[in-house]
Amino acid sequence: MIEIRNIVKQYGDKRVLDDVSTVIDKGKITSFIGPNGAGKSTLLSIVSRLIPKNSGEIIIDGKPLEKWQSNQLAKKLSILKQSNHLNIKLKIRELVSFGRFPYSNGYLTKEDEIYIDEALDYMQLRDIQNMYLDQLSGGQRQRAFIAMVLAQNTDYILLDEPLNNLDIKHSVEIMKMLRNLVDDLGKSIAIVIHDINFASCYSDHIVALKDGKIVDEGGINRIIHKDLLGQIYDMEFSIADVNNMKLCVYY
């Protein structure tokens, strides 16, 4: 379990996160939704030690973030940010191999190779594993980066807009795969996501943020509600029930 307690993040006078407290539960998909600038990505970056916080506490499996050794934490928690521009020329397999760095320190063992193969298979990249990243389509690139995170094999996986650059088919595939990771392998996943309908159909728990504060959080039925969503996004919503799933219509 990751406990987020009273997190404050400030740039100059602007409070990007204002006293945010919540929990990322084990064995669940937790989605963070909200308009641009709500502080969702910042929160994930703070939880994964990419940026420092001004005050508050992050507690991962009972141990404060500061007490974790960075390389130990890398076996526990992984993060993938939304823009992944690389300055070096890499093949897909080489990128995915980097995911094993926390375990192997760059000297890959047979076990590492197995994890790499599995991650490649999972993301259906085996056939093109020797292609260079700059030859790939946006969707293939995104899948390659997710495969790297999979190879890292952590309990917690934080994804900042993983559906960026993906078409509908691949988006659904990724979400299904995340669902499988949680249901079959017991991983815990937190995602920042803009498409509310994906959040509604695939998550266990939704945290809604606006202006650096948590407006509300809870299960699908509580959050996917026309008044609450209307309040967060400042627009009209209607919610439809289709095949037992709640879908938002907002056009």
Binding site: R49, L50, S70, I88, K89
Partner: protein, 316 residues
């Protein structure tokens, strides 16, 4: 493997050049004299080549940018400022200028103090803002340059000739004692660095990925800045400012070897650097009869290549 083949090819090429450089034109009557001149020169060329290639490679990983060189840290400008100030204040006959050893230690010492202050001051505020660090180095470098130019303007023209001598890298008057010290420092640094090569591979993915994979970013960066600063200071104090060469050789190595691994890039770029320096020096000695310093040739070729790189990156 293509990588290994290219490296072997480069290694053989540099050994041929080294042998050519040392043994060309020797005969039974002059060998003592020539060898006593050529061996220090060849050693200086080799260690400078390695230092420049290595520092540029590290600097590019550090900044995640393929078209930067460590001259951005302002160390060469500081070196020129030190030399100019010594001549301006104490005159060209002062001990600090004439005694190469004292000059070497003072220059290296000041450059290291400068870079550590730069690093400390800026990383305290924001723990990982590398761009700010570079910008500050750039501004200070320009400031040092203007200050040197200002003093050079007011100087006696005869004194200015001494400065001009030091403005361009030259391998023609190498002091053997300094050479040994520089050799030991650079060899020690390279040996110390080998165990970090894999970490630097991860760092070349960028800051966020590196932290995600468990790298202690701040510590790694600090380590790299220290290594770069020592390499640049030592090579600059040994032969003069020549950092532009690094841009050329590191990018050629990337193109040639097509890899991200520092292990290969370090060896490859060092060898290319040695080939470029030795080849250039041979050209200058045998073809141009010492009429131009080597850094002029290197800056010319480096400049053209830099433009090519900019245009290429622009097109991509």
């Amino acid at each position: 493997m293509v990588k290994k083949k290219s490296i072997w090819f480069l290694a053989i090429f540099s050994i041929v050049l080294i042998l050519l450089f040392v043994f060309w034109g020797l005969n039974s009557s002059n060998w003592r004299y020539f060898l006593s001149l050529r061996i220090p020169k060849v050693t200086a060329l080799v260690i400078t080549g390695v230092a420049i290639a290595f520092s540029t490679l590290l600097f590019q990983t550090l900044t995640n940018n393929r078209i930067l060189t460590p001259s951005l840290l302002g160390l060469d400008s500081l070196y020129m400022l030190i030399q100019t100030m010594v001549i301006f204040i104490l005159g060209s006959t002062s001990l600090i200028l004439i005694n190469n050893k004292i000059n070497f230690f003072i220059s290296v010492g000041l450059m290291l103090i400068f870079s550590s202050l730069l690093f400390k001051g800026l990383f305290k505020r924001d723990r990982s803002n590398i761009m700010f660090f570079l910008l500050f180095g750039l501004i200070l470098g320009t400031f040092f340059q203007s200050l040197s130019t200002f003093m050079q303007m007011m100087m006696d023209p005869n004194e200015f000739l001494h400065i001009q001598d030091r403005m361009f890298a030259s391998f023609n008057h190498i002091n053997t004692e300094i050479l040994i010290i520089a050799f030991i420092i650079i060899l020690a640094l390279v040996l110390y660095s080998i165990k970090y090569f894999k970490l630097w591979d991860v760092l070349s993915l960028g800051r966020d990925h590196a932290i995600n994979l468990g790298l202690d970013y701040h510590k790694t960066i600090r380590n790299m800045v220290v290594i770069v600063a020592i390499l640049v200071s030592v090579s600059t104090a040994l032969v003069g400012p020549i950092t532009f060469l690094g841009l050329l050789v590191v990018n050629l190595a990337r193109e040639f070897l097509n890899t991200y691994e520092h292990k290969y890039l370090f060896i490859g770029s060092s060898l290319i650097s040695i080939v470029a320096l030795l080849g250039g020096q041979l050209l200058i000695e045998r073809v141009f009869n010492f009429s131009t310093p080597i850094s002029v040739v290197i800056n010319l070729i480096g400049g053209v290549y830099f433009l090519y790189l900019l245009l290429k990156e622009n097109g991509a």
